[in-house]
């Protein structure tokens, strides 16, 4: 971990204690303040990190003897087609989720920013509402709406000539469906961040562009997008990280099927780790997830740092 602890180049914590040099004169009282949180974080974050690393080199089942198996579990993650496919599935999920969620969120943020739109506050609240609904509950509602027999949405689409059939049993449609549920839940969150980002763009830029005769499309590509680039990059990475952790709605809607087409990494970690008790394999797979998340987080911290600098 220690090589990864620098939180991005642009990040600057505020000057400590009014610039006085640190003497450590409050060390004992500081320890008292820190103790409860540090005990929890050491026991339930730091120690499990090391413990998971050790487990990933064993064939532990949680009971009885465990043997050191070296890199076997990691080799299996990248060679066993069954396990490797979960990396592929997660990648597909991420690639479907991220751009769609962001385009939807950005489009709505722009629409809500339109000066002639009445009831902006109402729409913002209404569109944000899905964010407080749990993914599991969202999955129940969508399962019902898409039910092949009694689903209302399925019925309406049939009226429009679109035959969906049983989407959750369809190897081609199950993945887009679970992605749709995640987008439905989270676009409002990204939208709100975009609205905040859009508000920071100085209005004078748009007025100058209008004077120069730039239309709405040109203004979007030449002012909005470049000015929003830090927020955009931040949200993209954020969305990718959350996509890597996809689990809840998949557990509820498809259980990873049909034919494992929605079996993501976290689904596999859950099943290997808690159902089949292949702790070694499951922890090796979680370390691969961890590595992917770390890479994305480091990128995110750099953008976050830049955003902080821009604001100061």
């Amino acid at each position: 971990m220690t090589t990864l602890t620098r939180p991005g180049r642009g990040y600057r914590p505020p000057a400590p204690l009014g610039g006085r040099p640190r003497s450590g004169r409050q060390t004992s009282i500081a320890i008292l303040f820190l103790l409860p949180a540090l005990v929890i974080l050491l026991a339930f974050v730091a120690w499990p990190m090391l413990s998971a690393l050790r487990l990933s080199f064993t064939n532990s089942s949680g009971f009885g003897v465990e043997e050191w198996v070296g890199l076997d579990n990691y080799v299996r993650v990248f060679t066993d087609p069954r396990i490797l496919s979960t990396l592929g599935t997660t990648a597909v999920y991420t690639v479907m989720f991220t751009p769609t969620a962001i385009v939807v969120a950005l489009a709505l943020a722009l629409l809500l920013g339109h000066p002639r739109l009445l009831g902006r506050g109402f729409f913002r609240t209404a569109l944000f509402l899905p964010f407080i609904v749990s993914l599991a509950v969202a999955a129940f509602a969508w399962t019902y709406l898409l039910d092949p027999q009694v689903g209302l949405l399925n019925y309406w689409l049939r009226g429009l000539g679109i035959q969906l059939g049983n989407v959750l049993q369809d190897p081609n449609l199950a993945m887009p469906t679970v992605v749709l549920v995640a987008i439905w839940k989270s676009f409002g969150f990204y939208m709100v961040i975009f609205i905040a980002g859009l508000q920071e763009i100085p209005g004078s830029l748009y007025e100058a562009a209008k004077v120069d005769g730039a239309g709405p499309v040109r203004r979007f590509f030449h002012i909005t997008l470049p000015q929003l680039s830090n927020t955009l990059a931040f949200v993209v990475v954020f969305a990718m990280i959350s996509a890597l952790q996809a689990f809840d709605q998949i557990y509820v809607m498809t259980g990873g099927g049909p034919y494992r087409t929605t079996q993501t990494v976290v689904m596999e970690v859950y099943q290997e780790g808690f159902k089949k008790l292949n702790l070694g394999l499951a922890t090796a797979l979680s370390y691969v997830l961890l590595a992917a998340t770390l890479v994305l987080s480091l990128i995110q911290f750099r953008f976050f740092g830049r955003r902080e600098e821009d604001n100061s």
């Binding site: 949180a37 339930f44 120690w47 599991a136 905040a196 780790g273």
Partner: protein
């Protein structure tokens, strides 16, 4: 825009309307949006099909407990990092920020083993204690505490106040908006979490609303939509009420804490 918004809200609308629909109407073809007959059957059934009152209580205790502990422990640690002069302050802050990058799914198995060793599987302690402090909360509050002016604490120090008194009677009262933001976030995240209660509880009686409702989709493959939507409505309602009362704070907290 209105049509679009209604379409977006369709899943929420369907939860509310189906919860009050009689079973016969739910399973009829063609499906309807509005119930022609309003009934509370689904609500009575959810309490007999699942130990639903217990699940609700568990959700309150789990999400509320995590929120309470995390707020206390996080603010204490954040105070030390923001305002106390001790060796290793900077290094500790950097380590805590770095640990933000660890998704809880990655350490779930060893955390479970630890909880099992303590004999805490299927207990409130098992659900709550591992989340009783949180790197994000510490970092978030620390950033706010640093920005508070220091004149008042110095005055209090001259009057002989100890650090704990300064923390309790000067810093905390001034940090109420930040604490509330963090409380909302922590509560909502835990209330809605599925994987965590799924892993740390093994009997239906110890689950939360979120994990308990998944038991309705049994192996039979037939989903009792009516009871499921009634249960979903009860699961969403406390958060929806909180959200509608404090929507400004909710939305602004999202925009400002966009880093998690």
């Amino acid at each position: 825009m209105l049509v679009l918004t209604l379409l977006v809200l369709l899943p929420v609308i369907i939860i509310v309307l189906t919860a009050f629909k009689p079973a016969a109407e739910i399973n009829q073809y063609p499906p309807t949006l509005f119930p022609s007959d309003w009934t509370l059957d689904n609500f009575t059934r959810i309490f007999s099909d699942l130990p639903f009152a217990r699940l609700f209580l568990n959700s309150v205790l789990f999400a509320g407990g995590v929120t309470l502990f995390a707020l206390v422990f996080d603010s204490l640690a954040a105070y030390a990092l923001a305002r106390l002069d001790f060796r290793g302050n900077r290094v500790l802050l950097v380590v805590i920020v770095a640990s933000l990058m660890i998704p809880f799914q990655a350490t779930l198995i060893p955390v479970y083993q630890l909880v099992a060793q303590f004999g805490w599987v299927n207990t409130y302690a098992g659900l709550i204690v591992p989340r009783a402090a949180d790197a994000f909360g510490i970092f978030f509050l620390r950033q706010f505490f640093v920005s508070l002016p220091r004149d008042l604490d110095n005055a209090a120090r001259i009057d002989g106040a100890g650090e704990f008194r300064i923390f309790r009677s000067i810093v905390l009262p001034n940090a109420v908006p930040s604490l509330l933001t963090l409380a909302i976030f922590t509560f909502v995240n835990n209330w809605n979490d599925l994987l965590w209660p799924l892993v740390f509880t093994t009997t239906p009686e110890m689950g939360t609303i979120t994990s308990g409702l998944t038991l309705l989709t049994g192996p039979s493959g037939i989903i009792p939509y009516g009871t499921m939507m009634a249960g979903s409505l009860i699961a969403v309602l406390p958060l929806a009420v909180m959200f509608l009362i404090m929507q400004r704070r909710f939305i602004e907290s999202v925009a400002s804490t966009g880093l998690k």
